[in-house]
Every structure is written in C-alpha cells, then in structure tokens.
C-alpha cells in the first residue's frame, strides 16, 4: 500500500533527510526499536529503515535516511505529497525497556542518531534518566540534537574535528562517564558498525549491559530468507526477527562488516547508472 510523504525536512543538504509518512496502521503498532521495509519504485529494492519517531494520534511515522546508494538517492528525489510505493512494518523486536535506578546512556553516530532517538524516547517514557552521547565527523553532520534535548537532561556531543563539543570520539565521553558514575543502568549504541564495536569494547570492563542495533542486509524482513543473519554468542540469529538489537558483547562485528560488503560491486553499478540517468539536483 503506498504511503504519502506528509513532510520532508533536509537535515544535511543532499545527504540526509527526514520524512514524515502517513501510515496510521504502522504508527498504531510501532514501538521503539522497530523498523520498516520500503520500496520506492516498481523495479526497486526493498530496504530497511528505522522508525525514528511515531505520532500515534496523527497516524504518522518518521524516518531518517542517509543517501548511500541507489535506493536512498531515489528516495531523496521524492517530495512532500509524493507516495512511497511500498511500506511495510513495524518490523523487528521492540526494544527491551526497563526502569533503572541509574541513568541510561544512548550513544548515536551519524544517521544512527535518528534511529537511536526513538529508543531514547522509550527509555525516557519509562521514567529513565537518559544521557545522550552523539557524534559526527563535523558540526554540520550532527543530527537530532534539538530533538534529543527535548527529553534528555544531558546531550553530550563529540566531533572528530572538534568543530563542536568534545574533539574526538563518542567512546571517550562514554568511558569518562562510566568511570564517573557506577550507577549507569544500560548503554545503547546505534551507528556505524565500527562505532558500535568500539562502544561494546568500551563498556566491557565496566560490565554494563550494552545493546547494539544491527544493520545487516535484509530482503524480506520477516524471517524467511536468512540474508540478515548475524553471529551472536556463537549462534546464528536473524537480525530482522530476533533483533535488530542484540547484546553488544556477544556480536561478531567482523563477520557483520564483511557480510555488509557482499553486494558492493553490484550496488555501485546501480548507483552509477542512477546518477547517469538522473541529473542530481542536490549536489552543488
């Protein structure tokens, strides 16, 4: 069933946008941690995107994407009032949310910040004190700081080049925080695979529960193909139905990175053909 784009906001011009979609049946069920699978055109690929926010009253969901290849580039060409051909969800397990005595730290990197937002909001709604730690290469690439500030008492920022907040990595802020506060209940990390792996390494000596949200390649998203399989604690799990969130200490990040490159050559062909046939209005 097609879904109408009600609002579009460019977060990083030509690179990352936020869409608010009319999808009452998905909004009614969506919980933090869930994602959708969408298809932009008749010949398009099914791709998963996290539900970054929901408004149950308005019947809308919010997605945020980074333009990385053909499908996301094609998504970026759509405007308010356009339809997304196929939108399926909510998929994946809900985030396991408890009330903790101590704070919950939610770490986000790149586009993962938007995905983390819904999880952080869930923890806040459950009465947790949520500390957000977000990072990007440079100030202009930082997302959702304002949105997180609405409910997080603390939003800590790092940039690789020091243009804003702490100069360095999110894991440096995280480590300092874990050292200073032994009551931290849980750490959640959403972002690029190397970042999630680094977060898991950082929390390990502290023995704090660490949840990561995995972005393996998916096809159906309902547990029928096994494309999304990941090794967790030596066991094969399907990220789309057993996850996408798993215990960061048990995930085989090396295998995940390698499997993400399985179709690199073909993805490049798709993207190049698309760029040739489509004069990109966004690159300047």
């Amino acid at each position: 069933m097609p879904s109408r784009i009600l609002k579009k906001r460019s977060l990083i011009p030509g690179q990352t946008s936020e869409l608010v979609l009319d999808a009452p049946h998905i909004a009614a069920k969506a919980k933090p941690g869930n994602f959708v699978i969408l298809r932009v055109s008749e010949n398009g690929e099914r791709i998963p995107l996290t539900i970054a926010d929901t408004d149950k009253k308005a019947g809308t969901i919010t997605i945020v994407y980074l333009v990385l290849g053909k499908t996301t580039a094609q998504l970026e060409t759509l405007k308010e009032g356009d339809d997304i051909l196929d939108l399926c969800g909510p998929l994946g397990k809900d985030t396991d949310i408890h009330k903790y005595d101590g704070p919950v730290i939610c770490v986000g990197g790149g586009t993962g910040i938007a995905a983390m937002h819904h999880i952080a909001k869930g923890h806040h709604m459950a009465g947790n004190h949520v500390i957000a730690i977000i990072g990007a290469r440079t100030k202009d690439l930082l997302l959702f700081e304002k949105e997180l500030k609405r409910f997080c008492p603390e939003v800590l920022v790092s940039t690789d080049d020091g243009s804003y907040g702490h100069k360095g990595l999110v894991t440096e802020i995280l480590e300092a925080r874990l050292k200073a506060d032994p009551t931290i209940g849980e750490v959640v990390a959403v972002g690029p695979v190397p970042m999630m792996a680094a977060v898991a390494r950082t929390t390990k000596p502290f023995g704090v529960k660490t949840v990561v949200s995995l972005n393996s390649i998916m096809v159906d998203g309902i547990g029928m193909c096994g494309a999304c399989r990941v090794s967790v604690g030596g066991k094969t799990q399907f990220a789309c139905v057993d996850g996408p969130e798993f215990d960061g200490q048990l995930v085989d990040f090396k295998e995940l990175s390698s499997r993400l490159s399985a179709f690199k050559a073909m993805e490049q062909i798709s993207y190049e053909e698309f760029k040739k046939s489509h004069v990109c209005k966004c690159s300047h």
Binding site: E45, D86, G89, L91, M224, G226, R259, F263, M266, I269
Partner: protein, 477 residues
C-alpha cells in the same frame, strides 16, 4: 457427440503419451522463459483421446482436490474447452498453476489406470492446456457471463493472512459464494511461493497475476505489506468484526546446515537466492535494483524441488559448474521427476552420496572451498528412505564460490507467537481439526505449509478448500 467417438475406438490401444514441446536445453539455460511450451490444440486432442473415461476413475482419488478428471478431459475431446475449464474450476481455483507444478507422478497420473501397463494420461498437461486457453479471457466473465461476479452477503467478511495458494483458495471459494474476503500479505506481491519461490522458467509470474486478477474481479480485497502478528493480529481482525480468519502463512523459515563457514559471503539460503531472483527479478539486474550474486562453481545442498530450482537458476545466471550435493542417491531425490530430468539436461551435476562438512573462506570472508564427506546408504529409516551413513576419513575439497542451502524449511514463529491461545505441535506448526481446518481458537482456521510443514501447492489448496467449505457452512448455513 460424434467427437466422442475416437475415445471409444482407441480404448485399449497403446497410443504413446504425447510429448511436451520444450525449449532445447542449450537455449533455455540462457534465458528465464518457460521451459515447457504447452500443447497445441492437436496435441491436446490426441492426448485427451488416450483417456478411456473410466467409470470408477482412480486418477480422481489421486488428486487432492478431486478434480473431475474424466469430465474435463471428455470436454476437450468434445471440443468444448469452455465447459472443460468450468469443470476444472469447480474444484480448483488455480488450474494453470497446478497443471504446471503438481507432482503428477505421485498424484493424479500416478493413479491413472493407463499407467499400469503403459504411460498414464498426461492429466497435468491437459489441465494446463485448458487453463491457459481460458486465462486469455476475463475469468469472471467466463464463469458467470457477467463482469460483476458475485452478490455480496451484507455484513459477512473473512480475513486471510498470507497470500499463498492456501489463502488464495479460501478467497476464491468464499468470494464465489458472495462473501467478502480480505487477504493480508506481508510481501509487496501476492502469490506466496508461486511468486517468490518457484522460478519464472517453470511458472511464469504472469499466470499467477492473472489468476489473482480474476479473484480481484470477484471482489476479493488484497492488502500487501501487511504483516500478520506485526501490522495486524488475529485479535485485531476479530475485533474488527471478521466472522472468520484463515492463517495461511506457509513454512518460510529457512533451515541451515550448522556446518562451519555458513555465514561466509556467497552462502545463501535457497529462500534468499530465489526471493532475490524471483520477487526482486534480479535476473534482469541492473534494470532492477535487487542484486543476486552469481558464482562460478556453485554447490546446492538438498535434492527437492527447491534445490532443483536454485540450481537451474544459478546455471541461468551464468555459473560454470552447478552441483547438487546430496547425502543419499538419485533414487531418493524428492524433486518432481520432470524437474530432475530438466536439471540433468541442463548440465546440472548430481553429486550423490556426499554431505557438506565445512565451508572455507578467504581472508575477506568470501567462500572459496567446500569440504564434503562421502556417504553410503544404510537401512531404511522411518520415512522409508535409506539413511545415509558417513564414511570415515573420506573427505574431499571442491573449489566453490557459491553455496545454496536447500535442505528444507521450518515454521516461521512470527505469526504464531503473536497469537495467544493458538495451539502448535512440537515443531511449531499449527494444530487443526483435520475435517474442518479449525485451530484451537474458534472460527480461526489454518492450512497449507504452516499446518503440514513444507508440502505441495495442491495440498495447500486442498486445505484451503476444506476450511473454506466449513466457513461457508457456518456463515451461510
């Protein structure tokens, strides 16, 4: 009825079974067009005349939906294909599909009297011939003579979850009785395994689409991208006032081998590989965006229809060598006979009595080598097939850059786990009343692979029909 005469004349005479025209193997491995081309009217008439119109037709007993086989064949002989089609549609809502994919040798044709001494009547091919002839025109009009097929029973509605053959049968049956049916399908296309599993070269997707169009004309409403248990639950449907719910979500959980190296790049479940190629139409990449990776040396594990489909698909996508690696011998292979023959003609190698023990990759995580172990056959097991026994120390390394695992599927818990009170057996399949198809929840029915485990199109349809009859009985009295 002079056209009837040849049937009588030919009684007892050994006229050979009419061969099916097909694309030559060397040509068809380069395309995804249908392999078998279908009978011409002349061929169909010749073949139809081989049927001796048994008084007590054994063939009908072999068909899970009990098609009036002599009846529809007689109409071919009489030259009335329209009537023939009607006879088929009385019990089978997808004749063009069944004519192509039923394992006829163990069903209708396996029971045909003509097969006792010679070759059975080619029932499946005739069924396909009639259905294909009529597919061309509006099915609704053909059946009723009008465009608006059915009257609605105000206020009655039934929901089906999943849009495979079992649900489609329920929808076709009930809508022809004027009951509103809503079908909720998780994927973006309708048809279940007929769309995402069975390849184009064996079952053109156009045929499935046409059958579905006919159901839409009959008033069935289809909702794609709705996931049972996620977007909508059985309880939601009951709360929305549906009088009955049918669960036909198939057995789509791919099994893996649990051998080392199974998560290397280049190792696929057959479901993933076939879904990419069929649902995603990856065989036309880069015209479409879904990629499918193709190896040079491809090993397929398993020897059922799924394995044959995966092997023949890999061959068409350009693999140099495709091997079916199977623990038992050719005799035990569960695939349809025709598929096995077609695969062999197309140059698929059978590596029988071998079991995969390890998949070995390079430093980047890409599959490079397959280690197999020799097997021998022991005593028959409970399934009646000889069980394979590993030969100590007999291992062999084979260059292999792509492996497809087609060793069966299990029950996908997504739907069943989200339905409290739904009784499952120890393998996670739904338990139903065998006569009615009803589950442990009143007015909630189930059928097809989610009840029996992976089976056949026609048995899923048989289950759909059983449930639909019961639903109709309860709703219409």
């Amino acid at each position: 009825m002079s056209a009837n005469a040849p049937t009588e004349k030919k009684k007892g005479k050994a006229v050979p079974r009419t061969a099916m025209p097909e694309q030559p193997a060397s040509v068809r491995v380069t395309n995804f067009n249908e392999v078998t081309l279908g009978y011409t009217p002349e061929m169909a008439l010749t073949e139809a005349n081989r049927c001796i119109q048994c008084k007590k037709p054994l063939c009908v007993k072999g068909c899970p939906v009990e098609i009036n086989i002599p009846g529809f064949i007689k109409k071919i002989v009489e030259g009335d294909l329209h009537e023939s089609y009607k006879v088929l549609r009385e019990t089978n809502s997808l004749p063009a599909v069944c004519g192509r994919v039923c394992p006829q040798e163990t069903q209708c044709e396996g029971s045909c009297i003509m097969g006792k001494k010679g070759e059975p009547v080619a029932i499946g091919r005739l069924e396909r011939f009639v259905a294909d002839t009529f597919m061309a025109s509006d099915a609704c009009e053909q059946l009723t003579g009008t465009h608006a097929c059915s009257l609605e029973h105000e206020g009655l509605k039934v929901a089906c979850i999943g849009a495979g053959p079992s649900s489609l049968t329920v929808a076709g049956y009930l809508s022809s009785l004027g009951i509103k049916v809503h079908v909720y399908e998780a994927l973006h296309e309708l048809g279940g395994v007929l769309i995402y599993g069975i390849p184009e070269f064996r079952l053109p997707k156009e045929i499935v689409r046409k059958e579905i169009e006919a159901m839409k004309a009959q008033g069935v409403e289809f909702h794609t991208n709705w996931v049972g248990g996620k977007t909508i639950t059985v309880q939601d449907l009951i709360d929305q006032g549906f009088n009955a719910v049918f669960i036909g979500v198939g057995a789509g959980l791919p099994k893996f081998l649990r051998v080392p190296g199974e998560n290397l790049i280049g190792v696929f479940s057959a479901n993933e590989y076939l879904t990419r190629v069929n649902l995603g139409r990856a065989y036309t990449f880069p015209a479409v965006d879904t990629p499918a990776y193709t190896g040079k040396n491809v090993a397929v594990f398993g020897a059922g229809n799924v394995a044959m489909d995966a092997a023949r698909t890999a061959k068409r996508l350009g693999a140099d060598r495709v091997m079916i690696v199977y623990r038992r011998s050719e005799k035990e292979m569960p695939a349809r006979l025709e598929e096995l023959h077609h695969a062999k003609d197309e140059g698929i190698e059978l590596m029988c009595l071998n079991a995969p023990v390890e998949l070995i990759g390079d430093e980047k995580g890409w599959l490079k080598t397959l280690t197999v172990q020799k097997m021998m056959l022991g005593e028959p097991d409970e399934s009646g097939r000889c069980s394979p026994i590993a030969c100590d120390g007999q291992f062999c390394d084979i260059p292999c850059d792509m492996a497809i695992i087609a060793v069966g599927t299990g029950s996908n818990p997504l739907m069943t786990n989200s339905t409290p009170g739904l009784e499952l057996n120890k393998w996670g399949y739904i338990t139903v009343n065998e006569d009615t198809g009803e589950t442990s929840i009143p007015n909630v029915f189930a059928g097809g692979d989610i009840v029996t485990g992976a089976a056949t199109v026609i048995s899923a349809m048989g289950a759909g029909r059983r449930a639909a009859k019961e639903i109709a009985r309860r709703l219409l009295g």
